[in-house]
Subunit: 501 residues, 2 copies
């Protein structure tokens, strides 16, 4: 006779299996599906998502969770059992708040919106996407009402990506970041020695980019025996189990950075889930705890590792051997400076570490306005351009380079964007702690190696998966709550050096 907890575990496994099946369909849609296949794929995902949602919201499951919780009452807070109960209680309560019809509508609208967006972006045709964005905003408003909130509508959605975080907290942190970064950026503008990044903007053969991307992903510790690299329009990482964590990249024939730093970024995400403890397998604990912490792992690999001097001192010779016609006249120092050039640009995913945060603040502010009914879909392009002017001093010449650039608004995913900038802050705070606890990391990093860093990340962050909330995790790992100071120290040191301030 199985215990209540064991019975619950079987149910949790089943729900997890179906959610991962949905992920496979979603991955395939981006990587392999011919465009004509979208109608069938939307139907398949809508049906599967409805069944999965039904299974995850039955009265019986709620009763089983409580019975299992009573059975393990007194279990250590850190135990897998207590952690799973905490998580499934929260997930169950959230899932019950969304009616099945609403979930099916989200899946259906999102599927079609996504493909409309791909075409609108390719054709710089916001008008063709406007009605879809309007539906996404409406779905987001409905969703925040279903979830409920105390202070602000936006809280309800933010909580789904960064558990327990409040909009007011994010606003305060972002304001502090702005206050510190604006003077640094101004100092770079006024006093910095100019950085030439033309080396990155040359014709780079795509098949060679692919070979080198595999090389550096492997070098930082992404495990290809439990992974796969695919090609997409808008890169992402996704996992179907800890032994099948995939990355995707896009290849720009005239610009090297998207392939290099996109691959490092997605590898960081995938390594987080490859590093979850095997005891958590087939449960929702085997994931990153929040999008912000997830992003800290991708930013760690993309920026702290991948845009460091030591990394390119070690790996530039291989890059040069791959592209001799492009790089024969350059040194690793030229390359290091080029990839760290600070310059306001239109595209978030290509932004430098400093101005990146302004891209996020722009979206964070627009999203709140959309959600509160203060900004209609039709007015988004103009509002976008106004904010770009105010925050970055530039205006995109097309919507493709503006409000159509990101995939996120093809789903009711408002509340997601701020986690990107939070990721930068978590990353710097984690890294400061890591090198304090194990100074060998600094020596290895100077030689382009990540062994000790990755071991520290697995030990302190990865293995725990979703056992702790981000608030709990950052306190547990660093002994302090999330703070922007480490990032400011990191950025000031690095860019003062590069720009000779």
């Amino acid at each position: 006779m199985p215990t209540k907890y064991e019975t619950l575990l079987e149910k949790i496994y089943e729900i997890n299996d179906l959610n991962k099946a949905l992920s496979v369909l979603s991955w395939d849609r981006e990587v392999n599906m011919p465009p004509a296949g979208i109608t069938g794929r939307v139907q398949q995902m809508t049906t599967l998502s409805r069944f999965t949602h039904e299974l995850a919201t039955t009265d019986e499951l709620g009763e089983l969770i409580e019975a299992a919780a009573a059975e393990i009452d007194g279990a250590d807070y850190d135990s897998d059992e207590a952690s799973l109960i905490r998580l499934v209680r929260r997930t169950y309560a959230d899932a019950r708040k969304l009616p099945p019809d609403f979930v099916a509508r989200v899946s259906d609208v999102s599927g079609h919106a996504h493909h409309a967006w791909v075409a609108a972006r390719a054709n710089n045709d916001f008008a063709a996407y406007e009605s879809w964005l309007a539906q996404i905003i409406e779905l987001s408003q409905e969703m925040s009402d279903y979830y409920g909130y105390e202070d602000e509508k936006y809280d309800a959605l933010l909580d789904k990506y960064e558990t327990d975080m409040l909009t007011s907290e994010v606003r305060a942190i972002f304001d502090a970041v702005k206050a510190e970064l604006v003077p640094l950026r101004q100092a770079i503008d006024e006093f910095g020695s100019p950085v030439d990044d033309s080396i990155l903007h040359q014709s780079y053969e795509i098949s060679k980019q692919q070979t080198f991307a595999r090389y550096i992903a492997n070098a930082i510790g992404y495990d290809f025996s439990r992974g796969h690299l695919g090609t997409v329009v808008h890169p992402f990482a996704i996992s179907f189990s800890r032994d099948d964590c995939r990355i995707t990249t896009r290849w720009n024939p005239d610009f090297l950075s998207p392939a290099l730093f996109g691959t490092l970024h997605e590898s960081g995400h995938a390594m987080y889930e490859q590093g979850t403890h095997s005891d958590l397998a087939r449960t929702p604990l085997a994931r990153g705890t929040s999008l912000g912490v997830h992003e800290s792992q991708s930013r760690m690999m993309e920026n702290v590792v991948g845009r460091s001097r030591g990394f390119w001192q070690t790996h530039f010779p291989m890059l040069k051997a791959t592209f001799p016609e492009n790089l024969n006249g350059a040194t690793h120092k030229d390359f290091y400076r080029a990839i760290n050039k600070v310059q306001p640009g239109f595209i978030r995913v290509e932004a430098d570490e400093l101005t990146y945060n302004f891209h996020i603040i722009l979206r964070f502010e627009l999203e709140q306005a959309m959600l509160n009914g203060e900004l209609a879909a039709a007015d988004v392009p103009a509002a976008w351009n106004d904010k770009m002017q105010a925050l970055l001093g530039i205006v995109p010449p097309t919507d493709t380079l503006g409000c159509l650039q990101d995939v996120h608004w093809t789903r009711p995913m408002l509340g997601y964007f701020p986690t990107y900038a939070l990721g930068n802050l978590y990353a710097a705070q984690f890294y400061e702690t890591a090198v304090t606890q194990n100074p060998a990391i600094i020596d290895e990093m100077a030689q382009g190696r990540t062994d000790s860093l990755v071991a520290w990340l697995v030990e302190n962050i990865h293995q725990h998966g979703k056992k702790y909330t981000p608030r709990e995790l950052v306190q547990r790992v660093t002994g302090q709550p999330l703070d922007h100071a480490a990032f400011i120290r990191y950025a000031t040191t690095k860019f003062s050096d590069i720009y000779g301030l």
Copy 2:
């Protein structure tokens, strides 16, 4: 208020969606999944397959089918509605015969067996696969008992691939084929002018093979805008909707035929489902009617088209331009003779049109013995080799080249193999009818074009999907039951010419 038929249709759509989702997981497993991902994937597919099976076997569905059938009573036999009722009645009755636990066990064992087979085949280690094969045989025996049969255990399984076909009928047809083909093969051996196929066994760069494979698949009418070409160990075609019908190929660096004829073969399968009528979309009618008829479409493209003189007269210049270093000294006539060389070999999928049928008869006879308990898993390698000696006069030096070569016995799919040889017979019979009804096909074929042939196939076969049983279809299309005479005429004419008999 929806009608009963409309309500049934919604249920059928849902079940179809979940079955197609399973197909995506299965495709991904073969094409992209890292080997380490197998544990999670088996769990996902087992869970999804159990839910789908449950949904397809409820009492309510049975009642709904009968209520909908009563509602449309009197509908034309050829109507989509009457055809769907006939099909889902049959499928429902079959599905109810298999207990859910058994279905889950099949999925679980097959998932693991498949990966054990990949390793065993790579290492020529039958012993490592033996216990899995034993389980597959047991599952097949159980399955035939669940389905039930009148005359022979094998009938129960054969019916699932070739509806209404009896083992005794297949045996009679295969005996007749043997009686006719053995003298032809002997005549080739004794009196034929030797054919040199060394041109095919050279080093062919894989990336160029891939480019050329895409070229010929497109040339015969495979629609890449509704398709995708992937790389696998054992090629197959699969469809997720009529607008997403995929093919897969393997690439041999030292032998050109697998890529060329494998691609044409799988394209023929995929074109069948791309050609189903859009009114049948999202229902189980949007598939080939049986494996034998499906195989007739792949063999039509692989052999009748792809191994014809006219095809290579037209396309050999492009092949030569792709591989000048390999083919500069050769003419299209040399190539045509090389790809039609008759020679007993170990590998079924590389066999010529004549000896191919012996490979099938071997498997057909072994399968009956396994199913009837007359042949244990451990004795399969020896029995295989004995039959090879008797039928083809050769003995494979390894099990990798023998009983481990095919993927089929990683599932309880006994009864599947005979449909391959039936496909050759259907193909020849369909082609004779096609050229009688539209002689322009002959002229086009002489110029390497398939427009009229494909139009005829869509009109007479593809668009109907699974509306008619194979018995009904062949009678309707050719005015006669399945017969081996057309294939014998086709093969005798072609090979007498090539071998100067």
